[in-house]
């Protein structure tokens, strides 16, 4: 999947290095050390903070008290923070809201984007250059926060979950990536289906989409992550605290050092640590993303590449 400076001859084992071409000098020991150190440091910079968050979320109140705060070395593991958070209440509701908005929003965005990308994918079709220009022009300017805010208000979308989905439902970049991929599909496949009497919807559903699983996986992830991570629109369009998605609750809990509604007693007097609760909310917020994105990773380069080349 990853072409290296030299072409790997055969698969000699999954961890082994492919044979070096004759013209390439063997790397020096110092070079290898420096490279490993640099790459190791970069990876640790990502992993260590995540490790601390996860370990603290799983630590007992005693361990956290002894550590004086965040826990680096795990001494015991308890799921009490997660149990309390997920047994109904503020965080459970917020997590469900986030899942709901993400699922509905992603399905909607994908449907709209795939249709549009396919509609623009046949070179020379009527009006496709005009539509493309209309869409792409929006990549160079924004209408501005205030007019957009007033529009959402005028449409009556405030205090509705539609305000979290509709204004950010389509990303032109994502449509262009999909379109670039669709255009790479050999036209004979679609042409022969058309001669056999298949309509465009059928060609899209039965030929184009099955051939584009990789890019569809990537774009689905992009949209899903966008919905899952969003908090700003909720902060300006929703006024009811009961309606807030997980990220907004996380802001309240961690940034403003609050304790989830209903858990105050368990934290004050019980076995629950306030810090573990905060860390557990963070883990809930990062878990879906951290679990899903590595699976889609092998398609990233392909998707980004077609998008970059054909944008």
């Amino acid at each position: 999947m990853t072409a290296v400076m030299w072409k790997p001859a055969k698969e000699p084992g999954r961890w082994a290095a492919p044979p070096r071409p004759v013209w390439e000098e063997a790397p020096s020991r110092a070079g290898i050390t420096a490279k490993s150190f640099g790459l190791g440091l970069a990876c640790l910079a990502v992993l260590v903070p995540l490790w601390i968050v996860v370990v603290t979320s799983l630590a007992s109140k005693k361990t956290i008290t002894r550590a004086g705060g965040l826990v680096v070395v795990p001494r015991d593991i308890t799921f009490i923070a997660y149990k309390e958070l997920l047994s109904g209440g503020q965080v459970t509701r917020a997590a469900l809201i986030s899942v709901g908005v993400t699922v509905v929003g992603t399905v909607f965005s994908m449907a709209v984007s795939i249709l549009c990308a396919y509609g623009l994918s046949r070179p020379g079709s009527l009006g496709h250059r005009l539509i493309l220009m209309l869409l792409m022009a929006t990549m160079f300017f924004g209408a501005g926060l205030i007019p957009t805010y007033l529009l959402v208000q005028t449409l009556g979308l405030t205090d509705s979950y539609l305000a979290l989905i509709l204004p950010s439902a389509v990303s032109i970049f994502n449509i262009l990536v999909l379109r670039g991929f669709f255009m790479g599909i050999s036209p004979e496949l679609t042409d022969s289906a058309r001669i056999d009497g298949a309509g465009d919807f059928r060609i899209l559903w039965q030929i184009v989409m099955p051939l584009s699983r990789a890019v569809i996986a990537v774009i689905t992830l992009f949209y899903a992550v966008g919905y899952w991570s969003a908090w700003f629109n909720a902060s300006i369009y929703l006024s009811d605290q009961q309606m807030m998605p997980l990220q907004n609750v996380l802001i309240q809990l961690v940034q403003k050092q609050e304790i989830p509604v209903g858990l105050t007693q368990a934290v004050r007097a019980g076995p629950l640590s306030g810090l573990a609760v905060q860390m557990a909310v963070m883990v809930l917020a990062l878990l879906p993303v951290a679990v899903l994105s590595p699976f889609v990773q092998k398609h990233f380069k392909k998707g980004m590449l077609t998008g970059a080349v054909k944008g």
């Binding site: 290296v4 601390i52 249709l115 501005g144 991570s229 996380l250 951290a290 990773q297 980004m304």
Partner: protein, 351 residues
């Protein structure tokens, strides 16, 4: 490059099938070079027939087009409130409110330009932009070269998976992670206190804030940014390296004379994009930390618009500030592209 026009089946009868499919196929379908030929061919077909033929395709773009028209184009007209004294209490319907609000000409712009807080936001915006350009921009290039020099496929894939990860975290998470490490109750301050030192809090220090913001950006997105460079590196012809090695070029000289020229167009494109987007320096990220560090260090143009408009309900004033930002932004995009064209690079769009 020559182009076979798809959809003209007569060429397929005479040409052998290998000539039609193969890796060259996707390239000609998108290249702008194919357009004149295509346009000439399609203009012979009458409009009505083309409409009937492509009706479904046009129909498919309607939902996306509608969303873009409503949420990207319609609000542009809303910017006329920058020339009004918009009264939000007239009606929650923006159109009614606009019709009933008095016109004040360019009064709002005069006030904005005389507002020291606006200029402070401008100053912060450019400060953060330059800092990010100098400190952030080179890191993905270095990381990409580093990853590209790793030959073991498994190690590469794992390093990539780890480095890409933070890009998918929300800003809320990233800011919170930094707070847990560098904040007053964070792991560093906590360790220092344990050893009898004075604790510290980087998160609320206005002097360090600009570096903190840059560091957060690097942690989140430097890993992800290498993807474009890796793609460019993978496209380099291996023969070039071999030829250079035959001519006696060592590792470093090969990097300088083969690898770097291959990266140049990508670097130019990304620089153009970055400069064109200079006035946008992490709105969500800064908004999340505005309370902790104060507007003195965290106020940029976007947060200024948010504060004056959404928070203080001074919509016309905020819209005027936003409009200034928007217009300057368009000028920046066009200028950056012009410079790229003059330098012989492609830029975002073609001439």
């Amino acid at each position: 490059m020559s182009h076979t026009v798809p959809g003209t089946p007569r060429t397929q009868d005479s040409a052998p099938p290998e000539a039609v499919d193969g890796p060259a196929e996707p390239a000609h379908a998108t290249g702008t070079g194919s357009r004149p030929a295509k346009a000439a061919a399609s203009s012979k077909v009458p409009f009505r027939r083309r409409l009937r033929q492509d009706r479904t395709l046009i129909l498919m773009t309607v939902p996306a087009l509608l969303l873009v028209l409503v949420f990207n184009y319609v609000p542009i007209f809303g910017n006329i409130i920058a020339f009004q004294d918009y009264d939000p209490y007239v009606s929650t319907n923006g159109v009614t409110a606009i019709l009933h609000s008095p016109w004040v000409g360019i009064q709002q712009f005069r006030t904005v330009f005389a507002d020291p807080q606006f200029w402070h936001a401008v100053e912060n915006t450019f400060l953060l932009f330059f800092l990010q350009l100098v400190l952030f921009f080179p890191i993905p290039i270095a990381l990409a070269l580093l990853i590209n020099s790793v030959v073991r496929p498994r190690v590469r894939a794992m390093a990539q998976a780890i480095l890409y990860l933070p890009h998918f975290f929300s800003w809320v998470l990233v800011v919170t992670v930094f707070q847990q490490i560098f904040g007053g109750a964070g792991i560093i301050a906590q360790t220092l206190r344990e050893h009898g030192h004075e604790g510290f809090d980087i998160m609320t220090d206005p002097a360090i804030f600009k570096f903190l913001v840059t560091a957060e950006g690097i942690w989140k997105d430097a890993g992800w940014s290498i993807i474009v460079f890796l793609a460019a590196l993978a496209a380099v012809n291996t023969d070039l390296y071999e030829a250079a090695a035959m001519d006696g070029a060592n590792r470093w000289r090969r990097m300088w004379h083969v690898t770097m020229p291959a990266l140049r167009p990508v670097i130019a494109l990304l620089l153009v994009l970055r400069v064109g987007d200079a006035l946008t320096v992490g709105f969500e990220q800064l908004l999340l930390q505005r309370d902790a560090v104060g507007p003195g260090a965290a106020e940029v143009l976007d947060t200024f618009v948010w504060w004056t408009g959404i928070r203080n309900q001074d919509f016309s004033y905020a819209a005027a500030a936003g409009l200034i930002k928007g217009v300057v932004g368009i000028v920046l995009v066009l200028t950056a592209n012009k410079i790229a064209h003059l330098m012989g690079e492609q830029g975002v769009y073609k001439k």
